[in-house]
Every structure is written in structure tokens, then in C-alpha cells.
């Protein structure tokens, strides 16, 4: 039965049903990812079913189960957590539904292809940049994402691993603001109170960097502090253009979404695909800010 539906599908994509199990949708990064997928799917005439697990790996498991109740042809999984996602992949494998993971990998099961950015590398890029702009010495503040998510963890690890090797640089404060702009604002305010000498601030996403930026501007210490974010969301790019933000690391999620649909179509057409598709994360500074593309035009 499955074969026949596949055969039909080759002519017109619209009889294919693809599930997209999203991690969360109240964060612009993932909304962009979803938009990339949805817009591409529509253009390609693919029937895309989206779920939102609100950051809960347990709910994501249920979402996948619910999706699998609907005769999917393919599952695109944007894992909340790599380890937990393995079970969802296994489940899909058992039903014979091919799986593509996007942004985060699953640490088990058979995945046809993974499309993502390298979070560790993102942290490392940020650290390298910090080292460079500070000339190898200075006081650095790190604002971390949600501890207990891969991205939060990996970006932090990439960042710290690199800077540990740099003697002149001290990480004087390390606090979590849960990827949230409001929390980052308060946390940065407190850190500014406690530390009179800060040379650079790294935040693990642009939401937090915007919050930190507000705090630093209000404290009038923008000239002393270099600020680095991650993700390259539009407000962050604007801030770079205005010279308020030093850099961000572009991981345009829209392309993740687009790429995942393209890959899905290839899989459904029985074409061979790369097992690991890593999109380039690039450092964005004043110099290249106008060249960077974060969305299809």
C-alpha cells in the first residue's frame, strides 16, 4: 500500500504527507525555521503537518506518536533533546517512516539525513572572535541559554573550551537567562552592578543579547564593552549596522527549514541524500553585515 501511494506521489507532491515535529514555536529562531519549511512546502505542493512540543521532550514524543497515527510519508524532527529524540526516531523507524532531523541531531535510531548548524562550532567562533577583539586579554561575561538543552550546553562548551586556552581572558560571570530577553536584561543589570570592569559579553542567542544590550546601554557602558550574540535575527543585524553590537554568529534558521523540505522531497523521490548536511555558520560583523542572507528574498 505504501509503495503505491509513493508511486502516485511522484507525479504531484500533494499526496505526500510530511510531519514536522517542532521543538518550540515561541522563539523567533524556531518560528523562522518553521516558516522556511512551510513556505518551501507550499511552493513544492507538499502537505506539511506541524506540531509544537513547547520545549518538552515528553510532549514531543506524544506529538510524534500522534503524527504517526496519520499515515505519514516522512517525518522531519526538530528535537527538543537529542537523547530523548532517539526514541521518537526509533518509533518512526518501527512504522517504516523515514526521518530527517533538523537543527539538533538525534542520538539514536536511523535517520536518513540531518540538517543543521554546529552549535559547538558556534561557541568556538564566538570565543575566537572575543579573543581577537580583546587582543587576548580582558574580562568576559557569558550569558547562557537554557541549561539542559543541547544548544545551550554546546554553545557554552564551545565557548568555554576555547577560552580556557587563553590565559589573558577571564570569564568573570557566567549566568543563565534561559534564552529569554527579559531575563537577560535583569541578569545583565545585576552583573553590571557587581563588576566594574567588563570588556566583552557573549550571549548564547540574539534574544538574550538584545536584553543585555538594553542593560548595558542604560548603564552607559556601551563604549567599554564588546557584545557578541548568536543567530543573526533582524534586530541584531540592525544593531550591528548601528554599531551597538559587535558581532553575531549567523545560523539562519529559515534555511534549515527550506533545506529540510528539499531533502525530504529527495528522500521521497528515492534519490540519495547526504547523511549530514551542515549549513555554514558565519561570523557577522560590521564588515559583512549587509552581505549576510537570513531569508530567501
Amino acid at each position: 500500500e505504501e509503495a503505491s501511494s509513493n508511486a502516485e506521489g511522484e507525479e504531484s507532491g500533494d499526496s505526500y504527507k510530511v510531519g514536522l515535529a517542532m521543538n518550540t514555536l515561541n522563539n523567533p529562531f524556531f518560528v523562522d525555521l518553521k516558516d522556511g519549511a512551510e513556505e518551501t512546502a507550499e511552493a513544492e505542493g507538499l502537505n506539511l503537518v506541524v506540531t509544537d512540543s513547547q520545549g518538552d521532550p515528553g510532549k514531543q514524543m506524544s506529538d510524534v506518536e500522534n503524527l504517526l497515527q496519520q499515515n505519514l510519508d516522512l517525518l522531519i524532527l526538530n528535537p527538543v533533546d537529542s537523547d530523548a529524540a532517539a526514541q521518537a526516531v526509533v518509533l518512526a523507524n518501527e512504522r517504516g517512516v523515514p526521518v530527517i532531523t533538523v537543527d539538533r541531531q538525534a542520538s539514536g535510531g536511523d535517520v536518513v539525513s540531518h540538517i543543521g548548524f554546529d552549535a559547538l562550532r558556534s561557541g568556538t567562533i564566538a570565543a575566537t572572535y572575543v579573543e581577537e577583539v580583546l587582543g587576548g586579554s580582558g574580562n568576559v561575561v557569558e550569558i547562557q541559554g537554557i541549561l539542559g538543552t543541547n544548544v545551550g550546553r554546546d554553545r557554552s562548551q564551545g565557548f568555554n573550551d576555547h577560552l580556557e586556552g587563553v590565559d589573558g581572558i577571564n570569564i568573570i560571570a557566567k549566568q543563565s537567562a534561559n534564552f529569554d530577553r527579559g531575563q537577560a536584561l535583569s541578569v545583565m543589570e545585576d552583573i553590571l552592578q557587581a563588576n566594574k570592569e567588563i570588556d566583552a559579553v557573549y550571549a548564547a542567542n540574539d534574544e538574550m543579547v538584545m536584553g543585555a544590550l538594553s542593560a548595558i546601554e542604560s548603564a552607559g557602558r556601551l563604549d567599554e564593552i564588546k557584545i557578541i550574540g548568536t543567530d543573526a535575527i533582524d534586530p541584531a543585524l540592525d544593531a550591528i549596522r548601528e554599531g551597538r553590537l559587535s558581532a553575531t554568529i549567523a545560523e539562519p534558521p529559515y534555511f534549515l527549514g527550506r533545506e529540510s523540505i528539499h531533502t525530504a522531497l529527495q528522500v521521497l523521490a528515492d534519490e540519495s541524500v547526504e547523511e549530514l548536511i551542515l549549513l555554514e555558520n558565519t561570523l557577522v560583523t560590521e564588515e559583512n553585515v549587509d552581505e549576510i542572507e537570513t531569508r530567501s528574498k
Binding site: P57, N66, L67, Q69, S107, G148, R153
Partner: protein, 322 residues
Amino acid sequence: MEKQAEDKQRWVHMLLLLDKYRVLIIFLALILVASLLSDAFFTASNLLNVFRQVSIVAIVSVGMTLVILTAGIDLSVGSVMAFTGAVAAGVITAGVAFPIAILICMAIGVLMGAVNGLIVAKGAVPAFIATLAVMVIARGMTLVYTQGNPIVISDPGFRFIGGGSVFGIPFPIILMLLIFIIMYWVLKHTTFGRYIYAIGGNEEAARLAGISVNKVKVAVYALAGLFASISALIYTSRLMSAQPNAGMGIELDAIAAVIIGGTRLTGGKGGVTGTIIGALIMGVLDNILNLMNVSPFYQDIAKGIVILVAVLVDSKLAKLKK
């Protein structure tokens, strides 16, 4: 006159019955609507799927029911889930056989619950704030214990708890039913059960009647902790990994299930039957919204409205009785 008295009695019983099963009527209505909305809904495989998904919240909710019946509340259940799940995974990873890990997990659940109970009973601290503090502490303990990383479980035997089946019925469902039946019976037919109602109804009068109010409270919170740890086992087994963020926000779902199920938030009135149905209502809702491919942005709105309609209908039915 004898006749009349009998008639009366029958009347009263019928009303009590209707009163008890109000929420069941609403549930059945929801099932009916869901079946009409999606063909995929009323299939054995999907129904088992829903029940299995619901089991985690439902088991936590049974514990919450007990606590709320004593006029308390337990906000810490989600964090207790996270911590006990992490410990279970941790000790399995350290090489402990999984049945023993399960016992350790449950023991810690009971312990954490008992701590809640002690603070509430002996410390005379409002349950809301006591369990809120424990919730925050237990979440922190989980982060420290896991260092923010999930703990992957490699022992395949452990998968049975969340993924196994007995005679085609998923094991989590069996656990849920077992706990439900036991607690239903305990509430009805043991002194402990009746004391729970007495304390929630009028704590002062219960104390004067010689009930060891503090002991009962500690036991009730300990049970809530136990059930949270059992849910943690199912959750951890389903994902074959312990998540530091496990159970976040589950307390609200559990309390919602309890209240939708007709247990009064101020204690003394209600029971576990309603709670299970309340949990099922919310599970079916999630399921049907997914099956119908409602956009995630609109799912919250739809869910909120259905809950609202359910409780409004319930409240109208309750008034009808009078």
C-alpha cells in the same frame, strides 16, 4: 410512609450519581465530537495511544487529588519527577540493576513528598509556598545532579515500563489503572481515606476527633511524591533518557485535571474517578487537535476554549441539580 422514605432515598441516590458523573457526560460528548471530526481518532491504536500519553499526567494527578482533598496543593511534582527520573537513570548508568534503580527512584519520591508533608504539617507553612520552594530546590538539585545534561539509559530492560505491553495493553496504562483502582478503594474503604476527607472538610474538627492530622498529611504528600516518581519512570523509560527539564509545568496540568474532575480546590470533596476523566479530557483534546492538524498557534486557543466550555457546562449541570 415507609414507601415514601424509600422513594426519597432513590431520588437522593440518583442525584448523587448524576452529580458524580457530570464530568463523564462531558467526556463522552468530547469523544463523540472527536470521532466525528477525525476518522483516525476512534481507532483502537489511537485510543491506546491517547491513554498511554495521558498516563503520566494521570498518575501525578491521582497524587495531586489526595493532596488537594486535604486542602493542600503540591507544586513540586514536576521537579520531583525530574529529580527521581535523573537518579533512576544515574544509578542505572552506574551499573545498578534496573529493578533496584526503580525502587531507589520510588523511595526518593516518597522521601521528597514526605519532606513537603513535614514542612506543611509540622512547619505550618502554607502548602502553596512550601511546595513552591521544594519545586525550585528539586529543579536545582536535578540540574546539579545532571549538570544540565540528559542521562541516557542503556539497559534495554528499562524500556518495558514506558514501552512494554501486557496482552496488548501498554504497561503505562496498566500502571495508571492499578493506581487508580487502589486509590479509589483506599479513599472509600479505609480510615486513612476517610481522614483525608475529614481533614479537608474541617481540619479543626478532625483534630478534635483525635485524628493525627500531621501524620495523615505527611502520608498524603509522600504518596504524591511516590506517584510523581512512578510517572518519572514512565517518562524516563519512554525517552530512554532522563531529562533535566522533565515534568516542567505538569503541576498545572495535574491541578487542572483534578479540578475539571470535580474535586474542590479547598478540600474535603471529590475523588480520583473524576480526576482520571479530567486527565483524559485534556489528553483527548491534545490528540484531536493534532489529528486535525490545527496550527500550533491556534491549538492553545482551542484547548483553552474547550476547557472553559467544559467547566462552564459542568457548573450549569451542577446548578440544575438544585
